[in-house]
């Protein structure tokens, strides 16, 4: 009698362990150790480390860059794609013609394209996909980019005509982003967990909380990928990604978020470091709608007060690009406005005095993101030089920042990475946006530019940008770099991040 209990308690523990071990084995997770996740060297697979895991596979109902990063270009394709220089290139559409009034687009589709479920890609799918964006099925706010579409007409299996309600230069570009993704009508039942597209890869396994494994399609219509599998592994932070690279668990760290860790990789022949550009503007935002930043002179003072080169060097180890306006160099209407507000604390003081805003006290609401905390201290010290006393207030990102700054506009100054491609008008052509910029001066010019021809679009948008800049509506501290660290043998990695997509179609090994 006395011996039984001890044995049974030991047995209990053992049983519990065995049970949990067995049931986990039969559970839904498949191992990341398989298919080269743990040993991805060689030609069969490439393993890419990323931060920020997709919540699900459906970017039509869920916001954020993580889903399109994994799936656009790899699993889903559009009629056009945006290349590494920001140019629009044909993809599922071989070619297209634009009517003289620039409202009718006739696309000729690639023949012989199939979805990964075996269905043929035809003009009907184009009609279905474009119309679906406008329906209730799409919950993403990006859907408004298709508002300009009036109707889609199927001319034949490989020809489709799109009628726009007005000419729009932005629309064709947007076709190369997630709103232009082509879906098969029979493949949209469970987008959150099953992705069916025309791209070079399919989602082979999705280990939630850990990785997405993409498998190359043997029946892909275009040039086949150079690897059989591409695995995207998700990490909590930048240090974890570089640890994984050093210990050989991954082959590539894409969009590295900790430039201070780079020197050791840059000096090591076993690794390569690529520094590309991105669309991400690290933007010092000021609440244009309320004092003190409702005065243009105070905003201009802030632009003169900040030494952007020093911010870049201190906060991001000098990686990144200085731009003088919220426009990346890959946008067609980019021009160098870096000298518009040279670093000049004296001038800043003078402007503040003129505005009657000397010894200004403001709150600087900093979201809990690495870039934001990195820039906050130096921004505060530079503002102090000019006579602006900024108090840092930390806001959990995204939840608290979205609620307080973005939705309730309860802030003086903040800093946030604006990642969307060609987002200038989203941010400044809407007085209800959290920046509170009064768009009366640019509204008509922006509409005219969108409806004009290519040359008119560029010159018109440049005028819009200059107006926004004259008003000092916001301060772009720097353009976020797209830093890629990889094992030396990996080839074909896209260095520039022009759209959200991380295209692994050309990734391979030497």
């Amino acid at each position: 009698m006395r011996r039984i209990p001890v044995r049974s308690s030991a047995a209990l523990l053992l049983t519990a362990l065995t049970l949990s071990a067995c049931s986990a084995g039969s559970g839904g997770q498949s191992g990341s150790g398989q298919d080269g996740a743990g040993n991805g060297q060689g030609s069969d697979g490439v393993v890419v480390a990323l931060t920020g895991e997709p919540a699900n596979l459906d970017f039509t109902t869920t916001a954020g860059a993580a889903i399109p990063q994994a799936l656009m270009a790899n699993v889903y394709e559009g009629l056009v794609e945006i290349d590494q220089d920001g140019q629009i290139q044909p993809l599922l559409a071989e070619s297209w013609e634009i009517s003289d009034d620039r409202t009718t687009y006739t696309f000729t589709l690639q023949p012989g394209v199939t979805f990964s479920n075996g269905e043929a890609f035809t003009a009907d799918d184009v009609k279905f996909s474009l119309e679906r964006v406008k329906s209730d099925a799409w919950l993403s706010s990006l859907k408004t980019k298709m508002d300009v579409v009036d109707g889609v007409t199927v001319l034949s299996d490989t020809e489709v005509r799109v009628q726009l309600s007005r000419p729009s230069n932005a629309w064709l570009f947007d076709l190369g982003t997630p709103v232009g993704a082509m879906f098969d009508e029979s493949g949209v039942a469970d987008l959150a967990s099953t992705a069916i597209g025309t791209g070079p890869f399919t989602v082979q396994a999705w280990n939630r909380g850990e990785s997405i494994e993409l498998a190359a399609r043997t029946d892909y219509w275009g040039e086949s990928p150079k690897v059989e599998t591409a695995t995207l592994r998700y990490f909590a932070d930048a240090v974890a990604t570089t640890n994984a690279l050093r210990s050989g668990d991954v082959d590539v760290v894409y969009n590295m978020q900790a430039p201070e860790l780079l020197p050791t990789f840059a000096g090591d022949d076993a690794f390569q470091v690529l520094e590309g550009t991105s669309n991400g503007e690290v933007m010092l935002s000021m609440n244009n709608a309320r004092p003190p930043f409702d005065d243009v002179r105070v905003r201009q003072a802030v632009l003169h007060a900040i030494d952007r080169q020093a911010v870049l060097d201190t906060a991001w180890s000098g990686y990144g690009t200085l731009v003088g306006a919220p426009v990346p160099p890959t946008d067609p209407y980019y021009e160098d406005l870096n000298n518009a507000y040279p670093y000049d604390p004296e001038k800043a003081r003078a402007l503040l005095a003129e505005a009657g805003a000397e010894n200004l006290d403001i709150t600087f609401t900093v979201p809990t993101r690495p870039y934001a905390t990195a820039v906050s201290e130096i921004v505060v010290s530079q503002l102090a030089e000019a006579g602006i006393n900024a108090t840092i207030e930390s806001a959990e990102f995204p939840a608290v920042w979205l609620d307080q700054v973005f939705t309730r506009h309860d802030y003086d100054m903040s800093v946030v990475l604006a990642v969307e491609s060609r987002d200038l008008l989203t941010m400044f052509n809407n007085p209800d946006y959290y920046l509170g910029y009064d768009n009366a001066k640019i509204k008509d010019a922006a509409a005219a530019a969108d409806a004009a021809d290519e040359a008119g679009y560029i010159s018109g948008m440049q005028q819009v940008v200059r107006t926004i800049n004259d008003d000092a509506a916001a301060n772009v501290l720097f353009l976020f770099p797209n830093i890629v660290v990889a094992k030396a043998g990996v080839t074909g990695l896209p260095a520039n991040s022009v759209t959200e997509a991380l295209d692994l179609g050309s990734a391979g090994w030497q």
């Binding site: 049974s8 308690s9 559970g27 959150a192 909590a236 050093r246 995204p398 939840a399 979205l402």
Partner: protein, 315 residues
């Protein structure tokens, strides 16, 4: 014993219910609109309202609460705001991972603590005993996440013996599972092992001063022999008490360790869900953690009465 069990069960139910109310209200009190987070920065008010209706967050709090608790009793945790899929199956997957991790860590911690604690007690006046005692004190002082980071720096990045992170289920590739699970288990077990070593040491010391042990030794048994034959079971009661409390702490500690080692367990699920204000998922995970803690306490209570008959008579 029957009454004792009934009281325990009632206490279990009351604590569980109180926890549901607390978790629910806390999650509603923190700022952040799940619909806004799901839709991002460019959402229109119309889309936001549509999404709030879909999530059910536009309904009165009482309705939301009753709906959720009702679901819990049916085993239906609801649909995640973020993944837009049923929470239950994902939760089970994650729970298995965490239980394996915590189970192995507890086993490892006991394997460290029982021999070392006993040796430290038997030799408490000798240098080796003092050294072990000092080491355990040091171990208690090191936070789990720091132990984890040090293990990664030394054994993964420095020596390259183990992967820095990642998880493979044991059923898929057992060798790879062991390879990957070693560092996280060590990180958890080193701290727990140190804590438990101290309790084993003091429990053994206490037992050794008891009369019955002196009697046993007077009958000719050696120090260790007497301890093993007569003392260990008595020493086990206080150690078991602490181990059970520590098991709950271990489950919470695993939240951080899972983050450091990128292990898809309950901990990483919880942290992601909090960040995304995936209210139903957070509530479900917390309730699973609460239930585990309650179940452990209940089980320990039952075990006491089996190990120590005196407790049985008292009730």
């Amino acid at each position: 014993m029957g009454i004792r069990l009934l009281i325990n069960a009632a206490r279990f139910a009351a604590t569980f219910l109180a926890a549901t109310v607390a978790v629910f209200l806390f999650m509603r009190a923190i700022p952040g609109d799940p619909a806004q987070i799901a839709l991002g920065v460019n959402a229109t008010e119309e889309l936001l309202e549509q999404t709030r209706r879909e999530f059910g967050t536009d309904r009165p709090l009482a309705v939301q609460y009753l709906d959720w608790v009702g679901g819990l009793f049916r085993g239906d945790f609801g649909v995640s705001y973020v993944t837009r899929q049923d929470i239950s199956p994902l939760l089970l997957d994650r729970l298995q991972v965490s239980l394996i991790l915590v189970g192995l860590a507890m086993a490892a911690a006991l394997l460290i603590a029982v021999p070392f604690g006993t040796i430290a007690a038997l030799r408490h006046r000798k240098p080796s005993g003092v050294l072990l005692s000092g080491l355990s004190q040091l171990g208690v002082a090191v936070p789990g996440f720091l132990a984890a980071i040090m293990l990664v720096v030394v054994f993964a990045v420095g020596l390259g013996w183990f992967p820095a992170n990642g998880w493979t289920p044991p059923g898929v590739d057992f060798a790879d599972f062991l390879h990957r699970v070693t560092l996280p288990v060590l990180a958890l077990a080193s701290v727990q092992g140190a804590v438990l070593t101290r309790y084993v040491r003091s429990a053994v010391l206490e037992v050794m001063s008891e009369d019955y042990l002196r009697t046993a030794r007077a009958k000719g048994l050696g120090k260790l022999e007497a301890l093993v034959k007569h003392g260990l079971r008595n020493a086990a009661v206080p150690v078991l008490t602490v181990a059970s409390v520590q098991l709950a702490a271990l489950i919470i500690g695993a939240v951080v360790i899972e983050r450091v080692f990128v292990i898809p367990g309950l901990g990483s699920m919880l942290l992601d869900a909090v960040g995304n204000r995936d209210l139903l998922t957070v509530q479900s995970v917390v309730m699973v953690l609460v239930s585990l803690t309650l179940i452990i306490n209940l089980a320990v209570d039952v075990l006491y009465t089996i190990i120590d008959p005196r407790l049985r008579k008292r009730s």
